[in-house]
């Protein structure tokens, strides 16, 4: 199953969830109505007249239906929005803390490195990392509505008791949730369950308020009324509990299936099922297992890496049984997990992968559309090794300090500096004009450090900077955008690569700092948008019109026939502003179509038989703009090897 299929399935599954949830809400409405009529009968407010219709009062029904619906749907939407507004909310709610980016604790450093490597290898911005310091069990989870707003949290046990391979397996499992859109469904599920839960909460609130007030002020004659209120309270509580029970059944069933997929993907990403299996075995052997102790643990139970709570029945489990998960990864597993205590693993200084793996600057990549599209959301161990070698080429000092907002901001601006000296000078004086001399100084310092970075490390450097940028205040973020704007204006001609770099940055910052996307959808047809994007790419790599036409033809051939008629636009009609709108429109389309368009982009770029690093990075940035994280492009042979269908599983 490739990335686009997984995305389609995730969408369909969300549709099913809405249907199931609607059924649950209908049942809840009926139940609440039944309770209300019975209560009114008991109070004698509705006389028992003619039998067949005595339980049907349309006016009452509609009122109850409307108020229940508004309540349940409103609370669901509220909860979903509250969680998605800040991916950190769940981790903080469970007693988590943001991992200090400059930590000297070797275990924490190791975790940060593993997460960064995995993010670079899969082509997504580095997520924020949280630690749950009060949780001795081994567990982890990922939250995120999209790539720009995602967060990974691990327990203290996970941090200290697992070896690097095991930790990498766990992180890969969580990344698969992020890449497959599972984390998104999980947020929805959380909201839906919460909506039904509210009915029960109201019931228990009624009962509790009675318990408090009935002590002193119980008057005679009111006993009948009181018992009706008690009846209503208990009934609402029961309805809520039953509703939540069913909602949890749904939640658990959906979750169990996706955990197995994430295990498979995690093993595939690292090409090392033993790591993931080892982590699961440690959970099985560890007396504390994967238990989460925080009071609100149940709420997020379907996010966890492994079962977070004690379950009475297998039906309510959000995860498949441990032995089953281990056996899938390790067929030799006999099923015995001797219990006991685990010791924290001893760590040496984090090893920096050798520069031997590094690729010489200026190499060319050969690329096939099918292979490139298949790689989206499906990284392999070679990508992780490559990410490690890329990171090794970023100067160590820069790499350490990029986790600080102050430096990260300068890195972003330094990436936008032009290669030509005179434009650079103009850009730096534009920065100075903003009135912050320290900023301009820092930017030129960072630019010096970046000079030794190879071209293909530039997008990864931006990905590394993003977690620190998320910690800017919104005023600071606004200043940064103004500075980015200045830099781009100072350079009268903007290259396609600079453009895409800037676009990736602004897209991820906007997603984080604006709680919702801009409501208006760009006024451009999908056909027009695709024509524009592909024309642009065809012209970008071509030296004469004939070559551009051939590249465009190759791109057109990648789209399924009869999809729509594409026209090659003249070079002058391909403005960057128009491209912005085109990309904004295309990211809204169905995953399957986006996959085809991405394939067409690759074909347009690869038509001349070679892909330069700048072209490759631009492709990745466009892919990111289309919401499809593409792993770094590997030097020639690896790309070819990856195209073999046998290399992909799951």
């Amino acid at each position: 199953m490739d990335f686009f299929e997984a995305q389609e399935r995730a969408r369909r599954r969300t549709g099913w969830l809405v249907v199931l949830f609607s059924l649950a809400v209908c049942g809840t409405v009926m139940a609440v109505y039944a309770v209300a009529t019975v209560a009114l009968h008991l109070l004698g407010l509705r006389p028992l007249t003619d039998l067949p219709t005595q339980f049907w009062y349309p006016d009452l029904f509609w009122r109850i239906a409307a108020s229940t619906l508004i309540l349940v749907v409103g609370v669901s939407i509220y909860k979903t929005r509250a969680v998605s507004a800040s991916a950190d909310a769940i981790a903080l709610g469970l007693g988590g803390r943001l991992l200090d980016p400059n930590t000297v604790d070797p275990h924490e450093r190791r975790l940060l490195n593993v997460v960064e490597e995995m993010a670079i290898a899969s082509g997504v911005p580095v997520p924020t990392v949280h630690l749950l310091p009060q949780e001795p069990g081994i567990n982890a989870f990922a939250v995120g509505l999209d790539a720009s707003r995602s967060s990974i949290a691990v327990t203290d046990g996970c941090l200290r008791l697992l070896s690097r391979d095991e930790l990498q397996g766990v992180v890969a499992h969580e990344f698969s949730h992020l890449l497959n859109g599972d984390a998104r469904i999980n947020v929805r599920l959380l909201g839906l369950v919460h909506g039904i839960l509210v009915i029960g909460l109201i019931g228990s609130a009624i009962l509790r308020s009675l318990g408090r007030s009935s002590g002193g002020s119980r008057r005679k004659g009111n006993v009948g009324g009181l018992s009706v209120v008690i009846f209503v309270g208990i009934s609402l509580y029961l309805i809520g509990s039953i509703g939540v029970f069913f909602a949890r059944l749904i939640k658990a069933a959906v979750s169990r299936q996706r955990e197995l997929l994430a295990d498979a993907a995690g093993a595939q990403f690292t090409r090392n099922p033993a790591g993931l299996a080892g982590a699961l075995k440690k959970i099985g052997r560890f007396s504390r297992g994967s238990r989460i102790l925080a009071p609100r643990a149940e709420e997020a139970s379907h996010f966890y890496f492994s079962e977070g709570m004690a379950r009475i029945t297998a039906l309510m489990s959000t995860h498949p049984p441990l032995p089953e998960r281990i056996r899938i990864l390790d067929p030799q597993f006999a099923g015995e997990l001797p219990g006991g205590q685990l010791e924290p693993v001893a760590l040496q200084e984090e090893e920096i992968p050798g520069v031997a793996a590094a690729v010489p600057v200026g190499h060319r990549i050969s690329l096939r559309p099918a292979a490139a599209v298949a790689s989206v959301g499906a990284l392999g161990d070679q990508h992780i090794a490559y990410a490690q070698s890329l990171l090794a080429q970023v100067p160590q000092r820069l790499r350490d300090s990029i986790r600080e907002p102050w430096v990260a901001r300068a890195v972003v601006l330094a990436l936008l500096l032009d290669g030509k000296a005179e434009i650079r000078t103009a850009q730096l004086s534009a920065l100075l004009a903003l009135g912050d001399a320290n900023l301009a100084e820092e930017v030129s310092r960072v630019a010096g450090a970046l000079r030794t970075c190879p071209m293909e490390a530039r997008l990864p450097v931006l990905d590394l900077a993003l977690p620190a940028l998320r910690r800017l205040s919104s005023a600071q973020c606004g200043d940064l955008r103004a500075a980015v704007d200045r830099l781009i204006r100072a350079d009268s001609r903007i290259g396609l690569f600079e453009y895409t770099l800037q676009r990736v940055l602004l897209r991820h910052l906007a997603a984080h700092f604006e709680s919702r996307r801009p409501p208006e959808r760009p006024q451009i047809e999908v056909r027009e948008a695709s024509s524009l994007l592909l024309s642009m790419l065809a012209h970008a790599g071509a030296t004469d019109p004939g070559e551009a036409a051939r590249a465009f033809e190759a791109a057109r051939a990648e789209l399924s026939p009869g999809r729509f008629q594409l026209t090659l636009l003249p070079r002058d009609d391909c403005g960057l502003r128009a491209l912005d709108r085109a990309l904004d429109r295309l990211v809204e389309t169905a995953p399957r179509l986006r996959g085809e368009i991405l394939g067409a982009c690759v074909a347009a770029v690869a038509r001349d038989g070679k892909v330069t690093i700048a072209e490759g990075e631009m492709l990745r940035a466009i892919s990111d703009s289309l919401g499809c994280p593409m792993p770094p492009l590997l030097p020639g042979e690896h790309v070819q090897a990856m195209a073999k269908p046998a290399a992909r599983t799951g």
């Binding site: 009122r63 109850i64 108020s67 309540l71 409103g74 609370v75 509220y78 509250a82 507004a85 800040s86 950190d88 909310a89 903080l92 943001l98 200090d100 400059n102 109201i202 600080e404 907002p405 102050w406 430096v407 901001r409 320290n438 820092e442 910690r471 800017l472 205040s473 919104s474 005023a475 600071q476």
Partner: protein, 194 residues
């Protein structure tokens, strides 16, 4: 009628709960923002003794100034610890602001003295350390800006109706921003050896 009253009550509860949650989030944000300052302050407090140690060899006759730097550094370090335990607390933030201003002033005097010692000015360790210190100062200032923005968002958030009804009752007191008043000395710290 009873239903309408119930509906209004429910709506009020939902509104209050969401207002409460929003306050919690805003408070978390400024607390997180303070921890960023804290990281940089600690680094600064680690740098200062090294700086004084290096300068000692040259500024033999300026013991008082150097001791004043160390005293100010220790006081600031204590104040920072207290502020980190209760970020936003009015007294703790004021103390930290005062201690930081004193440290900035003491450092400024030390650098001003160092101007008169060419050997010290050309010392590589001293140059490295003072560069590191200047860079850390920038980071502190930037993190402080982020913290003050977050505090302002929180303070505005808790004064808006209907949040203001529950803010006081549920323990959301006004947070204080982190100000360092040393307009004059600041420029002195900026003295560059390069």
């Amino acid at each position: 009628m009873a239903l309408i009253v119930l509906g209004v009550l429910l709506l009020a509860v939902v509104l209050l709960v969401s207002a409460y949650n929003r306050l919690v989030e805003l408070r978390n944000r400024y607390k997180n923002a303070f921890s960023q300052i804290d990281v940089q302050l600690k680094r600064r407090y680690d740098l200062v003794p090294n700086l004084v140690e290096t300068a000692k060899g040259y500024l033999k006759h300026e013991r008082q100034t150097l001791e004043a730097v160390i005293v100010a550094r220790n006081q600031a370090s204590v104040a920072a610890q207290r502020a980190a335990a209760t970020p936003g607390d009015a007294a703790a933030m004021r103390d930290l602001g005062g201690a930081e201003a004193a440290l900035g002033g003491a450092l400024g005097r030390m650098f001003a003295l160092a101007e008169a010692y060419p050997d010290l000015k050309s010392n590589t360790t001293m140059n490295q350390l003072s560069e590191e210190l200047a860079s850390t100062e920038n980071k502190v200032a930037f993190a402080r800006q982020a913290y003050n923005d977050a505090v302002m968002a929180y303070n505005t958030g808790r004064e808006i109706f209907p949040v203001s009804i529950i803010a006081g009752a549920t323990g959301f007191v006004e947070a204080r921003s982190f100000e360092i008043e040393r307009a004059v000395e600041r420029d002195v710290v900026k003295v560059s050896f390069a």
